[in-house]
Amino acid sequence: MARKKIREFDGKRMIAAALKRGIGLDLLLKIAQVSDESGSINKENLLKLYPWFGEVPLVVKPDMLFGKRGKNNLVLLNANVDQAVEFILDRMHSEVEVGGVTGKLTHFVVEPFLPHDEEYYLCVQTQREGDLISFSCTGGMEIEENWDRVKSVLVSPGDEFRSEEIHSLLLSADVVQADAPLLEKFVAGVYQAYVENDCTLIEMNPFTIDRSQNTPAILDVRVEVDGYAHFRQAKNWSHVVFPESWGRVKDEDERYISSLDEKSGASLKLSVLNPKGHLWTMVAGGGASVIYSDTVVDLGYGNELGNYAEYSGNPKEQETYLFAKTLLSLAVVNQDKRTALLIGGGVANFTDVAATFTGIIQAIKDVKGKLEAAKAKIFVRRGGPNYKTGLRLMEELGEEIEIPIMVYGPETSMTKIVEHGIQWIETGV
C-alpha cells in the first residue's frame, strides 16, 4: 500500500524537526515511547531514561495507529510516574477492541500533561486536486458535532500556501486576534512539514497553545506518509517505524514473504486467512488474485479459503521458488480431507510464464510427500509469454510426481479452475 500510517510518537518528532528546520519554531518537544523495545518497564528505568517523568504530570496513551482513544477510555491524564507505570503495565499486551478490530497493545506514548483551554483542529490531507487544509477553533472530542465550524482551503498541486490564504482561513474560523500571528506561523510551518516529508495526512485534533512558553503544543496527531517517496526520504524518515495496521499480526511465514517482497523488484504478497482451509491460491497479478478470491467467496466457499497470495512484476526464478515453497508448506498442514491448490493467473503482458513456473515446480517437488498426505490436487491456469512451455512443464511434473495436476491455458476462462478445485475438495473428482 502506498500510504503508510506512522505512530503518534514518530509523527510528532517528524513535525517538530521540520518546524525547527523550516521556520525556526522550536516546540520544545518532550515525548517518550514505552514498549518492549525501550527496556524494562519500571519506575526506576523509566526515570533514568526520561528524568522529566518525575518532574511534571504526565499523559499516557496507547500508540497503535487507532484514534478515538479518549472515547475508548484509553487515555490517562494528569498522572504521576507511579500511575503512568501502573497504567502501562496493566494494559501492555492486553487485548482490546477498537473500531471493530481486536488487537494487542504494545506501544505507549508518554508526554507532559498540559492544562489548556483552547482546542484547535488542524488537518492537511491529500486530494486529487491538491492539499486540503482545514482549521477550526473548536477541535477535540466533539469535532464531528462542530463540523460546520471547520473552515477549509485547497492548495493546488505545486502551488505555495500563501500567507494571505492562511490569514483569511484563520480569520474565517474566528481566531482570536492576539493569537493569530503565532497560529498563522504554525499552520504555515505544518504545511511545509507535510510537503517536505511527503505526508498524505497530518491531522491534529487538537493542538493548543502552551501559554507558559508561548508555543503551539500538539496534543494528538495522526500522520500518514506516501510510501512511494521512500527513495528520497531516507534522511527525514531515518528514525520512523512503519508498523502493521491495528490488529494485524503477521505470522512468521507472512513476515518472511514481506521481507522477500521488500528486497525484490517484483511483488510477492501472502496473507493467511484460514490455516485450516482446503482451498489455497497462488495467483499471478494484483488484479487477478482478487478475482480468484472473489470467485471462491461468490461460490460460497469463503470459509475454505486458506490464503490470499499474489506475485507479479516478473519475479526471479529463485524468488518464485521461495514464495511457492512457503505457501505450499502452509497448504499441506491440514491433512484432514482433500486440498486444492489453485495456481492461477490471467494472460500476462510481459512476465515469462515458463520462468516463473520453473520456480514453482521446484517447490512442488520439494513438498511432494506432504502434498500426497494432504490429498492435494493442483489446478493451473495461465497465459502470456512462453506459456505453452510453462504449461507443458506443469503437465510433465504431474506425470513425474504422480500428483494430479490439471492444466489450462488462455482459451479457458480465468476462474474456471476455482469450480474444479471446489469440486475436488467436495467430491474427490
Partner: protein
C-alpha cells in the same frame, strides 16, 4: 477528473510516439504490432535517451527488415525533429518519471503522456495531473501497462505476445471500448472480448495508483464520443470512488451506450477487516462507500449491466453484444487477416520449434547460469574453497584439476619467470612504449610481442626436444651432435655467466622441489645427462632455467596421471608452456610500464653514439631516356 477527455479517440493508424528510456522488448512489441496491423509507418518516431549525443540510433525489426530509430538526448529535440509524434511513452524509473514527464509537458506537439513506472510519489503525480489539465493533455498511468487501439496503436508491452494479439483479434478494430485499473486483467479481458464479441476498439489500463492520470470514468466518457465504439466494458475494483463517476454519468444521461461492468473485491468481507484498509484519509471520511458491493449496486441502479460474479461477466458481455447485433445497432466489424510476422529466432529456439547450427563452441567456461563456472566448477566454489592460480590454470588450460604438487609447481614457475630486469627485449620494449605515452595495455603488448623463438621461446622447444630424445632412448651425445649437424641450437643449454661451479640458483631450487615432490623426474634426469655431455665442451654449457622448466613440465604432465602421451605431446605443440612464460612475464612487463609512468619518464630516444652508422653507396633513380646519365656525373 483529468483534462478534457471528450472528443473521442486518442490514437489512430498514423499515431507515432516518442519512446523515453529505451527498452528493447517493448519497442519491438510495438513495432511487431504495427506490422501485424499493416501500418505504413512504425509507431515509434524516435527514442529519447537522456544525455545521449545526436546522431545515434537503435535498431529494431519492422516486419522482415531492420530499421534504425533515431535517438535524441531530450524530448524537446526529438519532438522538434518529429513534430507529428504526439504520444510520449515514458519508460523511466519511478525516481525519474516525474522530472522527465514534466520536461516533456511544454512540448506543444505532445498530446498524450504515458507513465509506465510504479511507485511515483503522489505529490509529483498530482502536479503532473494539474499541469495536464491546464494544457489540455491526457496522461495515462503511472503504474500501468498502457493501452491499445486495435489495428491502430499499441503502447509498450500492452497485450503481450504476437500470438496473443492475433488470438484477441487486436490487429484490427472491433466495436468494444474497455477500461480497467489492472494491466494484467486488461489482457485477460481482451481474450474474453475476442471470444464473445467482434473485439476491442480501444482499451486502457489506467493503473492501480491512488491518483491515476486519467480515471475509469474519464475513459468511459471518451468512449461515449467515439462512434466506432458501440458497447463499453468496465472492470473496476474496490477502493476509491471513481466508479461512481460512471454511475453519475449514466444517471445524468451523458452516457447512452450500453455499459457492462464488474467490480472486483467482494472477497474483502472475508478478510480480517484490519488487514485490508481502503479508508479515506482525513477526519471526515467520505460519504461514499468504497466497497465492491456498494459500487456495483450504484452502477446497476444507474442502468449499467452487471453480473453477480466474475464468472457471470463473460456470458453477460456475450448476451449484451448479441442483443446489439440482433437489433442492428451493431454491425460486426470484419475479420482481417493479420500481416504475418516472420518467427523470432530467439523465441523459436526457446520454444524448441527450430534448430540452428552454432557458430562457436566453448568447452572451458559458461556464463549463462546463476554464476559463471570454470569447466563446471561454479565461481563461488573457486572462491569459497580457495582455489589457487595454479588450480585455475589447470582448469581453464587443461580442463582438469591437477594434483597439488603440480599446481604448486606451475605457481613456482610463474613466480620465477615474472621478471628478468629492464634490459631484456620484452621489458625494454614495454619501457620504451610506456615512455612514448602509450597506455598500459599497449605498453604490455609491446613487450609481449617480442616473445618468440629467440626471447622466452626456448622453454617450448627444450621441452619438446628433451621429451623426444628421452622417449626414443637417444644418447646424450647422439642428441647434441644430431642437432649440431642440422645447424640447430641445443635449447635449454648454456648461460651467459653461470657455470658448472657457479650454478643458477633458480635451476637448483626448481629441480630440488621436483625431486622431492614429483613422482618421477625422468626428463630432468635426461636433461642433466645432456648437460653432463655439453659441459665437457665448455664450462658455461649448463642446463639453464629454460631447459630446466621445459624438462620439468614434461615430467609434471607425464607424472600427474591426467594425460595420455598423445595429450602431453599436443599440449607442448599448442604452446602451453609458452603461455606460462607469457603469463608470468606479463607481471613484470606491467610492473615496468607502471614504474616508468609513475616516474613520468620522458620519451625514450636511443643515443646516436650507441648506433654504428654505416651505409652502402647511395643509389640513384634510373632515367629511361638516358640510362647512362649517372655515369656522366
Amino acid at each position: 477528473m483529468g483534462g478534457s477527455m471528450e472528443g473521442g479517440s486518442l490514437f489512430s493508424r498514423e499515431t507515432q510516439a516518442l519512446f523515453y528510456n529505451y527498452k528493447a522488448a517493448p519497442v519491438q512489441r510495438m513495432l511487431d504490432f504495427d506490422y501485424l496491423c499493416r501500418r505504413e509507418k512504425p509507431s515509434i518516431a524516435a527514442i529519447v535517451s537522456p544525455g545521449s549525443k545526436p546522431g545515434g540510433f537503435r535498431k529494431a525489426f519492422f516486419g522482415n527488415t531492420e530499421i534504425a530509430i533515431p535517438v535524441y538526448g531530450s524530448s524537446a529535440e526529438a519532438a522538434a525533429a518529429h513534430p507529428k509524434a504526439d504520444v510520449f511513452v515514458n519508460y523511466s524509473s519511478h525516481r525519474s518519471a516525474y522530472q522527465s514527464t514534466l520536461d516533456c509537458l511544454p512540448v506543444p506537439s505532445i498530446r498524450v503522456l504515458v507513465i509506465i513506472a510504479e511507485g511515483v510519489p503522489e505529490r509529483d503525480v498530482k502536479v503532473l495531473i494539474a499541469e495536464c489539465k491546464k494544457s489540455n493533455k491526457v496522461m495515462i498511468g503511472p503504474a500501468t501497462v498502457g493501452g491499445i487501439q486495435a489495428g491502430g496503436f499499441k503502447i509498450g508491452d500492452t497485450a503481450g505476445t504476437v500470438e496473443n494479439i492475433i488470438r484477441c483479434k487486436l490487429h484490427r478494430p472491433g466495436s468494444i471500448g474497455f477500461v480497467s485499473k489492472s494491466g494484467g486483467l486488461s489482457n485477460e479481458m481482451y481474450n474474453v472480448l475476442a471470444r464473445t464479441t467482434d473485439g476491442l476498439f480501444e482499451g486502457v489500463a489506467v493503473g492501480g495508483d491512488a491518483y491515476p492520470g486519467t480515471t475509469l470514468s474519464d475513459h468511459v466518457r471518451r468512449f461515449q464520443d467515439i462512434p466506432e465504439i458501440k458497447m463499453i466494458v468496465v472492470l473496476g475494483e474496490l477502493g476509491g470512488s471513481d466508479e461512481y463517476g460512471v454511475s453519475e454519468m449514466l444517471k445524468s444521461g451523458v452516457l447512452t451506450k450500453p455499459i457492462v461492468a464488474w467490480i472486483s473485491g467482494s472477497c474483502a468481507t472475508y478478510f480480517n477487516s484490519a488487514e485490508v484498509q481502503f479508508g479515506h484519509a482525513g477526519a471526515r471520511s467520505g460519504n461514499l462507500d468504497e466497497s465492491a458491493a456498494s459500487k456495483l449496486t450504484a452502477l446497476r441502479e444507474a442502468g449499467a449491466i452487471c453480473p453477480t460474479s466474475f464468472e457471470g461477466f463473460e456470458p453477460l458481455i456475450a448476451e449484451t453484444y448479441m442483443k446489439l447485433v440482433e437489433s442492428g445497432e451493431l454491425v460486426p466489424k470484419p475479420e482481417i487477416e493479420p500481416q504475418m510476422l516472420p518467427g523470432d529466432l530467439h523465441q523459436a529456439i526457446k520454444a524448441g520449434q527450430v534448430r540452428k547450427a552454432t557458430n562457436m563452441v566453448c568447452t572451458i567456461s559458461d556464463d549463462r547460469g546463476e554464476e559463471p563456472s570454470y569447466v563446471g566448477v561454479p565461481i563461488s566454489e573457486v572462491i569459497g574453497q580457495s582455489y589457487s592460480v595454479g588450480d585455475v590454470i589447470s582448469l581453464l588450460w587443461f580442463k582438469r584439476l591437477l594434483p597439488p604438487w603440480a599446481t604448486k609447481f606451475i605457481e613456482l614457475v610463474l613466480v620465477t619467470a615474472a621478471d628478468h630486469g629492464p634490459c631484456v627485449s620484452g621489458a625494454h620494449n614495454s619501457i620504451v612504449a610506456a615512455r612514448a605515452g602509450k597506455d598500459l595495455v599497449s605498453s604490455l603488448c609491446s613487450g609481449l610481442l617480442t616473445i618468440g623463438p629467440r626471447f622466452g621461446g626456448a622453454v617450448d622447444q627444450a621441452a619438446i626436444n628433451f621429451r623426444n630424445a628421452c622417449d626414443s632412448d637417444t644418447s646424450a651425445e647422439a642428441f647434441v651432435e644430431g642437432l649440431k649437424k642440422k645447424g640447430l641450437r641445443v635449447e635449454g643449454i648454456g648461460h651467459r655467466i653461470k657455470t658448472a661451479e657457479n650454478r643458477d640458483m633458480r635451476v637448483e631450487l626448481l629441480s630440488g622441489y621436483a625431486k622431492e615432490n614429483f613422482p618421477s623426474t625422468k626428463y630432468l634426469s635426461y636433461a642433466e645427462t645432456v648437460e653432463g655431455y655439453t659441459l665437457q665442451k665448455a664450462n658455461n654449457l649448463v642446463l639453464n632455467i629454460d631447459g630446466c622448466i621445459g624438462a620439468l613440465f614434461v615430467d609434471m604432465l607425464s607424472g600427474c596421471e591426467s594425460f595420455s602421451d598423445v595429450e602431453v605431446g599436443e599440449i607442448l605443440e599448442l604452446g602451453a608452456l609458452n603461455g606460462i612464460f607469457v603469463l608470468s612475464r606479463s607481471i613484470g612487463l606491467i610492473g615496468h610500464a607502471l614504474d616508468q609512468k609513475r616516474m613520468k619518464q620522458p620519451l625514450y630516444r636511443h643515443p646516436h653514439e650507441d648506433v654504428l652508422y654505416t651505409q652502402p653507396e647511395r643509389p640513384y633513380k634510373k632515367s629511361k631516356s638516358d640510362p647512362d646519365s649517372k655515369m656522366d656525373m
